[in-house]
Symmetry: C2
Subunit: 102 residues, 2 copies
DNA sequence: TAAACTAGTTTGTGTGGCAAACAGCGTGAC
DNA sequence: GTCACGCTGTTTGCCACACAAACTAGTTTA
Protein backbone atom coordinates (compact mmCIF):
# COMPACT_ATOMS: atom_id res chain seq x y z
CA UNK A 1 0.00 0.00 0.00
CA UNK A 2 1.25 3.42 -0.96
CA UNK A 3 0.60 6.89 0.33
CA UNK A 4 -2.45 8.78 -0.94
CA UNK A 5 -1.69 10.54 -4.21
CA UNK A 6 -1.75 14.04 -2.78
CA UNK A 7 0.91 12.94 -0.36
CA UNK A 8 3.36 11.28 -2.69
CA UNK A 9 6.05 13.92 -2.39
CA UNK A 10 4.88 14.83 1.08
CA UNK A 11 7.48 12.66 2.72
CA UNK A 12 10.16 14.91 1.32
CA UNK A 13 10.36 17.42 4.14
CA UNK A 14 10.92 20.64 2.22
CA UNK A 15 12.99 22.09 5.02
CA UNK A 16 15.58 19.39 4.43
CA UNK A 17 15.03 18.86 0.73
CA UNK A 18 16.22 22.31 -0.30
CA UNK A 19 19.74 21.85 -1.73
CA UNK A 20 21.67 24.17 0.56
CA UNK A 21 20.06 22.82 3.69
CA UNK A 22 20.50 19.26 2.47
CA UNK A 23 24.22 19.94 2.33
CA UNK A 24 24.19 21.52 5.77
CA UNK A 25 22.27 18.68 7.36
CA UNK A 26 24.47 16.08 5.67
CA UNK A 27 27.57 17.81 6.96
CA UNK A 28 26.14 18.06 10.46
CA UNK A 29 25.27 14.38 10.36
CA UNK A 30 28.90 13.52 9.78
CA UNK A 31 30.49 16.15 11.97
CA UNK A 32 28.30 16.16 15.07
CA UNK A 33 29.38 19.75 15.64
CA UNK A 34 30.28 22.48 13.19
CA UNK A 35 30.83 26.18 13.56
CA UNK A 36 29.69 28.93 11.24
CA UNK A 37 32.95 29.30 9.38
CA UNK A 38 33.35 25.62 8.85
CA UNK A 39 29.89 25.41 7.31
CA UNK A 40 30.69 28.49 5.28
CA UNK A 41 33.59 26.65 3.73
CA UNK A 42 31.99 23.27 3.23
CA UNK A 43 28.73 24.58 1.80
CA UNK A 44 30.11 27.40 -0.31
CA UNK A 45 27.20 29.60 0.75
CA UNK A 46 27.51 33.31 1.46
CA UNK A 47 27.31 34.42 5.10
CA UNK A 48 23.85 35.81 4.56
CA UNK A 49 22.43 32.65 3.12
CA UNK A 50 24.06 30.42 5.65
CA UNK A 51 22.72 32.61 8.44
CA UNK A 52 19.13 32.44 7.22
CA UNK A 53 19.25 28.73 6.50
CA UNK A 54 20.62 28.04 9.97
CA UNK A 55 17.94 30.24 11.51
CA UNK A 56 15.31 28.17 9.74
CA UNK A 57 16.76 24.87 10.83
CA UNK A 58 17.05 26.13 14.39
CA UNK A 59 13.50 27.44 14.54
CA UNK A 60 12.28 24.12 13.16
CA UNK A 61 14.01 22.39 16.02
CA UNK A 62 16.29 20.41 13.73
CA UNK A 63 19.45 22.16 14.77
CA UNK A 64 20.65 23.52 18.07
CA UNK A 65 22.97 26.51 18.22
CA UNK A 66 25.36 27.57 20.92
CA UNK A 67 26.66 31.09 20.85
CA UNK A 68 29.68 32.03 22.89
CA UNK A 69 32.74 34.24 22.78
CA UNK A 70 36.05 32.69 21.82
CA UNK A 71 39.10 34.92 22.00
CA UNK A 72 36.67 37.74 22.71
CA UNK A 73 35.03 37.14 19.36
CA UNK A 74 31.55 35.77 18.68
CA UNK A 75 31.49 32.12 17.78
CA UNK A 76 28.48 29.98 16.89
CA UNK A 77 28.33 26.22 16.87
CA UNK A 78 25.60 24.05 15.44
CA UNK A 79 24.64 20.47 16.01
CA UNK A 80 21.71 18.33 14.95
CA UNK A 81 19.01 17.66 17.52
CA UNK A 82 17.41 14.25 17.89
CA UNK A 83 14.45 15.63 15.95
CA UNK A 84 16.80 16.75 13.21
CA UNK A 85 18.43 13.36 12.94
CA UNK A 86 15.05 11.66 12.85
CA UNK A 87 13.78 14.05 10.20
CA UNK A 88 16.83 13.44 8.07
CA UNK A 89 16.39 9.70 8.40
CA UNK A 90 12.74 9.98 7.34
CA UNK A 91 13.76 12.23 4.48
CA UNK A 92 16.29 9.73 3.16
CA UNK A 93 13.80 6.90 3.38
CA UNK A 94 11.15 8.94 1.59
CA UNK A 95 13.61 9.92 -1.12
CA UNK A 96 14.71 6.35 -1.66
CA UNK A 97 11.14 5.11 -1.83
CA UNK A 98 10.24 7.85 -4.25
CA UNK A 99 13.09 7.39 -6.65
CA UNK A 100 12.67 3.67 -6.74
CA UNK A 101 15.83 2.88 -4.84
CA UNK A 102 13.70 1.56 -1.98
CA UNK B 1 39.23 14.66 -4.24
CA UNK B 2 35.95 16.45 -3.86
CA UNK B 3 34.23 19.15 -5.86
CA UNK B 4 35.11 22.78 -5.19
CA UNK B 5 33.11 24.16 -2.26
CA UNK B 6 30.93 26.44 -4.31
CA UNK B 7 29.85 23.43 -6.29
CA UNK B 8 28.98 21.04 -3.50
CA UNK B 9 25.26 21.12 -4.12
CA UNK B 10 25.79 21.87 -7.78
CA UNK B 11 25.40 18.25 -8.77
CA UNK B 12 21.80 18.36 -7.64
CA UNK B 13 20.20 19.50 -10.88
CA UNK B 14 17.49 21.84 -9.56
CA UNK B 15 15.22 20.97 -12.43
CA UNK B 16 15.02 17.42 -11.16
CA UNK B 17 15.50 18.13 -7.47
CA UNK B 18 12.25 20.04 -7.04
CA UNK B 19 9.81 17.64 -5.32
CA UNK B 20 7.03 17.59 -7.85
CA UNK B 21 9.37 17.08 -10.77
CA UNK B 22 11.30 14.45 -8.86
CA UNK B 23 8.05 12.51 -8.58
CA UNK B 24 7.29 13.02 -12.25
CA UNK B 25 10.73 11.91 -13.39
CA UNK B 26 10.66 8.90 -11.08
CA UNK B 27 7.29 7.85 -12.44
CA UNK B 28 8.45 8.29 -16.02
CA UNK B 29 11.54 6.21 -15.27
CA UNK B 30 9.36 3.32 -14.25
CA UNK B 31 6.58 3.73 -16.79
CA UNK B 32 8.42 4.59 -19.99
CA UNK B 33 5.27 6.39 -21.14
CA UNK B 34 2.62 8.24 -19.20
CA UNK B 35 -0.22 10.48 -20.25
CA UNK B 36 -1.36 13.69 -18.61
CA UNK B 37 -4.16 12.17 -16.59
CA UNK B 38 -2.05 9.35 -15.31
CA UNK B 39 0.55 11.78 -14.05
CA UNK B 40 -2.22 13.89 -12.59
CA UNK B 41 -3.29 10.93 -10.49
CA UNK B 42 0.11 9.64 -9.50
CA UNK B 43 1.57 13.01 -8.59
CA UNK B 44 -1.49 14.58 -6.98
CA UNK B 45 -0.68 17.89 -8.66
CA UNK B 46 -3.29 20.24 -10.05
CA UNK B 47 -3.62 20.47 -13.82
CA UNK B 48 -1.96 23.86 -13.86
CA UNK B 49 1.08 22.78 -11.94
CA UNK B 50 1.49 19.59 -13.86
CA UNK B 51 1.25 21.51 -17.11
CA UNK B 52 3.96 23.99 -16.16
CA UNK B 53 6.27 21.36 -14.72
CA UNK B 54 5.96 19.27 -17.86
CA UNK B 55 6.62 22.32 -20.01
CA UNK B 56 9.82 22.91 -18.08
CA UNK B 57 10.99 19.35 -18.40
CA UNK B 58 10.20 19.38 -22.10
CA UNK B 59 12.00 22.65 -22.76
CA UNK B 60 15.01 21.32 -20.86
CA UNK B 61 15.06 18.38 -23.21
CA UNK B 62 14.51 15.88 -20.42
CA UNK B 63 11.05 14.84 -21.55
CA UNK B 64 9.48 14.40 -24.93
CA UNK B 65 5.78 15.01 -25.47
CA UNK B 66 3.46 13.69 -28.13
CA UNK B 67 0.15 15.38 -28.64
CA UNK B 68 -2.60 13.71 -30.58
CA UNK B 69 -6.35 13.34 -30.64
CA UNK B 70 -7.89 10.23 -29.18
CA UNK B 71 -11.64 9.82 -29.50
CA UNK B 72 -11.72 13.37 -30.83
CA UNK B 73 -10.20 14.61 -27.61
CA UNK B 74 -6.72 15.99 -27.03
CA UNK B 75 -4.33 13.53 -25.47
CA UNK B 76 -0.74 14.13 -24.41
CA UNK B 77 1.87 11.53 -23.68
CA UNK B 78 5.24 12.02 -22.09
CA UNK B 79 8.39 9.96 -22.02
CA UNK B 80 11.92 10.55 -20.81
CA UNK B 81 14.56 11.34 -23.39
CA UNK B 82 18.05 9.87 -23.21
CA UNK B 83 19.20 13.20 -21.80
CA UNK B 84 16.51 13.01 -19.15
CA UNK B 85 17.51 9.51 -18.11
CA UNK B 86 21.16 10.54 -17.96
CA UNK B 87 20.33 13.62 -15.91
CA UNK B 88 18.29 11.57 -13.47
CA UNK B 89 21.12 9.11 -13.12
CA UNK B 90 23.58 11.92 -12.38
CA UNK B 91 21.13 13.43 -9.95
CA UNK B 92 20.78 10.20 -7.99
CA UNK B 93 24.53 9.77 -7.85
CA UNK B 94 25.03 13.34 -6.67
CA UNK B 95 22.35 12.94 -4.03
CA UNK B 96 23.83 9.71 -2.73
CA UNK B 97 27.31 11.20 -2.58
CA UNK B 98 26.01 14.26 -0.81
CA UNK B 99 23.99 12.51 1.83
CA UNK B 100 26.74 10.09 2.59
CA UNK B 101 25.02 7.10 1.14
CA UNK B 102 27.63 6.97 -1.59
C1' DT C 1 -28.51 26.33 -28.30
C1' DA C 2 -27.12 26.06 -23.95
C1' DA C 3 -25.13 23.78 -20.04
C1' DA C 4 -21.71 20.66 -18.46
C1' DC C 5 -17.58 18.03 -19.14
C1' DT C 6 -12.78 16.93 -20.71
C1' DA C 7 -8.01 18.28 -21.50
C1' DG C 8 -4.96 21.15 -20.93
C1' DT C 9 -2.76 26.45 -20.65
C1' DT C 10 -2.19 31.05 -18.94
C1' DT C 11 -2.21 34.34 -15.28
C1' DG C 12 -1.72 36.32 -10.56
C1' DT C 13 0.10 35.86 -6.08
C1' DG C 14 3.04 34.57 -2.27
C1' DT C 15 6.97 32.17 -0.57
C1' DG C 16 11.59 31.75 -0.35
C1' DG C 17 16.52 31.56 -1.97
C1' DC C 18 20.14 34.58 -3.10
C1' DA C 19 23.68 38.30 -2.76
C1' DA C 20 24.56 42.82 -1.27
C1' DA C 21 24.33 46.06 2.26
C1' DC C 22 24.42 46.62 7.10
C1' DA C 23 25.52 46.21 12.23
C1' DG C 24 28.18 44.97 16.36
C1' DC C 25 32.43 44.15 18.30
C1' DG C 26 37.48 43.98 18.74
C1' DT C 27 42.19 45.51 17.40
C1' DG C 28 45.81 48.35 15.79
C1' DA C 29 47.58 52.97 13.82
C1' DC C 30 48.13 57.75 14.73
C1' DG D 1 40.37 59.02 21.76
C1' DT D 2 39.12 58.22 17.19
C1' DC D 3 39.50 56.45 12.79
C1' DA D 4 40.12 52.64 9.73
C1' DC D 5 39.96 47.82 9.19
C1' DG D 6 38.81 42.96 9.94
C1' DC D 7 35.91 39.38 11.85
C1' DT D 8 31.26 37.36 12.76
C1' DG D 9 27.13 37.16 11.72
C1' DT D 10 22.13 39.57 10.48
C1' DT D 11 18.92 42.23 7.76
C1' DT D 12 17.19 43.91 3.33
C1' DG D 13 15.78 44.02 -1.55
C1' DC D 14 15.26 41.63 -5.59
C1' DC D 15 14.00 37.83 -8.54
C1' DA D 16 12.71 33.11 -9.74
C1' DC D 17 9.58 29.80 -9.15
C1' DA D 18 5.80 26.78 -7.19
C1' DC D 19 1.08 26.93 -6.57
C1' DA D 20 -3.94 27.47 -7.44
C1' DA D 21 -7.47 29.92 -9.78
C1' DA D 22 -9.13 31.58 -13.93
C1' DC D 23 -9.24 30.87 -18.68
C1' DT D 24 -9.23 28.58 -23.53
C1' DA D 25 -10.58 25.12 -26.85
C1' DG D 26 -13.23 21.67 -28.16
C1' DT D 27 -16.94 17.79 -27.15
C1' DT D 28 -20.88 15.62 -25.39
C1' DT D 29 -25.53 15.74 -23.40
C1' DA D 30 -30.21 17.54 -23.08
Amino acid sequence: MTAPPSDIAGGLDPLIHESSRLVIVSVLTECQVADFNFLLGTTGLTRGNLSTHMARLVSAGYVEETKEFVDRKPHTEYRLTAAGRAAFKRYRQAWARLTGRA
